[in-house]
Symmetry: C3
Subunit: 136 residues, 3 copies
């Protein structure tokens, strides 16, 4: 059995943000056994799973990804939407457009230090839409 629900996130600032609680707030009761896939309907923001405890980790993610894929690389041609746009596309494909998480005993079976990250790569990305798919 496969079910969907959508989440329209509020606008987040550029950077990495924990959205585990927001995803769970929109979920009804979860099945005892299943798999959750969370998909983002955008090409300049992504999703991943990482550390949920120390806010400096989120800041370091932003700094390291900016260091890896800086703006204004001289050979870039897709510049019409701003210098943050093309790096955002690349970063989005590096982290990915969806995450899959097991559901056990009616709960997301994340590791104790794991949280779901919204990776907002645009300066003004606006509200982002997610589709959550639950297979059980």
């Amino acid at each position: 059995m496969v079910e969907h629900f959508d989440i329209q996130l509020p606008s987040y600032s550029r950077g990495f943000h924990l959205i585990t609680e927001e995803v769970l707030r929109h979920s009804g009761p979860l099945p005892r056994v299943g798999l959750m896939n969370i998909f983002i309907h955008h090409t300049s923001a992504g999703l991943c799973i990482n550390e949920n405890a120390d806010p400096t980790v989120l800041d370091d993610f932003e700094r390291i990804f900016n260091h890896l894929i800086p703006e204004n690389l001289p050979f870039i041609r897709h510049t019409i939407e701003g210098s943050d746009d093309m790096p955002a596309h690349i970063k989005a494909s590096m982290v990915g457009s969806s995450v899959s998480i097991p559901i056990k005993d009616g709960r997301l079976a994340l590791g104790i230090w794991q949280g779901i990250y919204l990776c907002e790569f645009r300066n003004r990305g606006g509200s982002r839409k997610l589709t959550v798919t639950i297979s059980s």
Copy 2:
């Protein structure tokens, strides 16, 4: 219910290519509610989801990934298959070997700007095989 079908892609040149229409052409009618996973059976090509409108984005992907992981890094040892081979393996694991996309109302629920990319990282990768899995 889980179903598969295979797609044998034609040979693509090195670079990033939109294959959304090709995937849909091989799909029969999709279920009303489901999840599609597309898996590539190769280690020097990958799949991701990104911008479907401006061809310069595809070119910039190729340039930025080559910039990030250049050929002929002096410390590489797996060189027997050519200078494009080891970077291709790394890039493939950075974008990933599969993508998952929700199916709603019998259609792929991609965002308006999203398309499926074949990421061909070899100079002469040849024909690539995909398996599409539909859960419903």
Copy 3:
């Protein structure tokens, strides 16, 4: 139908390691048609699929990822757990926390050169826990 089982891996050294056989050893008989998702419950190790034949590929993965995301970048703030920790988080999100693989005729439908990699990014990561989810 969705089923889970857990795998507690032995401690692996920092680097990339083939775990395909280990995953299969823990699986009972696989369904004829299905999809396997393997999820890692940690934020400084990841999973990906890549070349299964030449051990120098595994070594080159370690060298190239270290080159891309070196330790002791001067702007990093999350340093309390050691210089290998923050780079490990970034690398983990670049390769990802789970892989999905089709199951056909009761077998994992990997390409002939594909194997499942545990990507251990910590110097002493210890034993890692996986959850394998089989949809059929």
